[in-house]
Symmetry: C2
Subunit: 379 residues, 2 copies
Amino acid sequence: MDRRKFILGSSAGLLATSSLMSLSAFGCSTKKTVKSGHLVLRFKPYELKLKHAFNLAKSSRTTTPDVQVELEYDGIVGYGEASMPPYLGESVESVTKFLSSLDLTQFTDPFRMEEILAYVDSVAPNNRAAKASIDIALHDLLGKIMGQPWYKIWGLSTEKIHPTSFTISNDTPEVVQQKIKESEQYKVLKVKMGVPGDKELVETIRKATDRPLCVDANQGWNSKEYALEMCHWLKEKGCIFVEQPLPKEMLDETAWLREQSPLPIIADEAFQRLPDVVRFKDVYDGINIKLMKSTGLHEAYKMAVLAKSLGMYVMLGCMTETSCGIAAAAQLSPMVDWTDLDGNVLIGNDRFEGLIFEDGKVIPADKPGLGVSIIKGLE
Amino acid sequence: MDRRKFILGSSAGLLATSSLMSLSAFGCSTKKTVKSGHLVLRFKPYELKLKHAFNLAKSSRTTTPDVQVELEYDGIVGYGEASMPPYLGESVESVTKFLSSLDLTQFTDPFRMEEILAYVDSVAPNNRAAKASIDIALHDLLGKIMGQPWYKIWGLSTEKIHPTSFTISNDTPEVVQQKIKESEQYKVLKVKMGVPGDKELVETIRKATDRPLCVDANQGWNSKEYALEMCHWLKEKGCIFVEQPLPKEMLDETAWLREQSPLPIIADEAFQRLPDVVRFKDVYDGINIKLMKSTGLHEAYKMAVLAKSLGMYVMLGCMTETSCGIAAAAQLSPMVDWTDLDGNVLIGNDRFEGLIFEDGKVIPADKPGLGVSIIKGLE
């Protein structure tokens, strides 16, 4: 088997050996295998190398598994990706298995997006990042066919984009101060709380800067009373909202907290698919949309429309991803209240270029599709 | 003044003399007045001639006032229209005044749809048909620039389109029988009720055909008990839903009726703009979206997304319109449960061609924008 080729989705079996996961094993796809007038799927694992180890409450990691996807139609290629932080339950193996099970060559018109995505969604439950990779590649492909970026197709303007937040992870006060200094281009800082030393981290940050803070508690506060106390304390510290303060199962407690809290309460781990928006309308003030949870842009756009119509806040988040996935999310960002799109700057081996960072904002390029292209040499 | 030219929106004053309203006064627009890289608006009154007089409870009419709109950008022209049945409060005068007050030349990028439509919406309250005419022309223009019809841009497929209903208006039993025979290509019939003789009309129809019926009561039933009695009777007669059974102000009574009724209760007169969807979620089973009420396609698409997400039925209706307005609505029709798009076949002087009627369904052409073009000689 020629490892320099992408895996052809409809014919290849499960394929995820470690040798395929190194950069040098990647190669160009061969166009001669493409049947004209049909959608052809290719994909390959691509391990994201984190610039700094990710220290969470119970674990630490230096890489994120990722699968890069190509969807080709009549010689035009759309790019997508699946990023699989381990706690979400997907892996290179599961994504490869899912993508291998798809037969997209049955579709002769890429514009039948609802039909194609309904098919993809029907093949197996969950597998949300795998599904997102197809949706993202399809959007890139269609945008390229139409000659426009998706923010324009949706009628949006990049002037409406808010600055992205940037996560300051915990460390010694000296290192935290250094991180704050090095992140001066970011106008909003994000802190992970619900772990030992979290209040001290906020104090350390406040000694160095008065930039607005947002907080992700990652379900880390176990009682509604403590969560409320923290919200009041954080309000005084210049925090603008709190993500997932309580475990996702604690709906009644979260609804109570939301009524009492001086800060908006945003659903992250609790929130996955479109029907969750209506379900959470009286529980949370807003939702954190991430493409790897929403199964991609098509459903994410509907989530944003729905949430805004219901008077909810919308936040746009991400996993560690290449600029491909971040550029996809950025298309939606003019619609949302808060963006948290720093996933591509956390990795040292981004595969795409073209996404713009300006005035603390992540701005999609005014180019067709997602507006990104593969960095030379990383094809 | 040269009557053969369209009225240039940003410079012309209020202009709606009766001589402008005859077909012979229409002429081509002159491209030399168009500033490159700017949106240029032109419009002219166009009186729709009804094939048969429209007999409503309290009035009868043989024409519908309409204003035809063109939006040009870099030599590409998008078409739109405003149709103004008198009971909705708009007129050639009000639409002309509204369109004349717009300065669209300030926009150098037609893709900034949300910004452009927000500006149009901000100029004056109400004026929904006038606003729709701009939205429809903008969609036609953008679809032409992208080279795709809007149903494709939204990812929809025409296979999902349901047959349109066709209105059988009341008359002598013999004439009604004749109308039913002549409308054999329509698979669903619609009856206006809430007027004297309405039950007899249903009986007459049922003697001739067992095609499904839908009913528009036009707020004509004044008590919830009578409305419920009618719903049970209509259920037995093969009716599939009832539009606006009670006056739009009777929200509590409608919510009660909805709980009791064996047929879905759909909001028509009560329903206008996007926020109404959420407001009516516990009052009606569904909504009737009409572009002349929704201010056009952009808001209508969001309405459909929202209503479907809330578990509501969506019906797509129209006014008497040319095939331009009907083709615009038809782009959305794969998303909805019921279509009622017979407005163009009710007029004798349609100005557009290209919309497809097949198997009782109104199907947009697979052509850029709205997929319609002006009939030769009617430019």
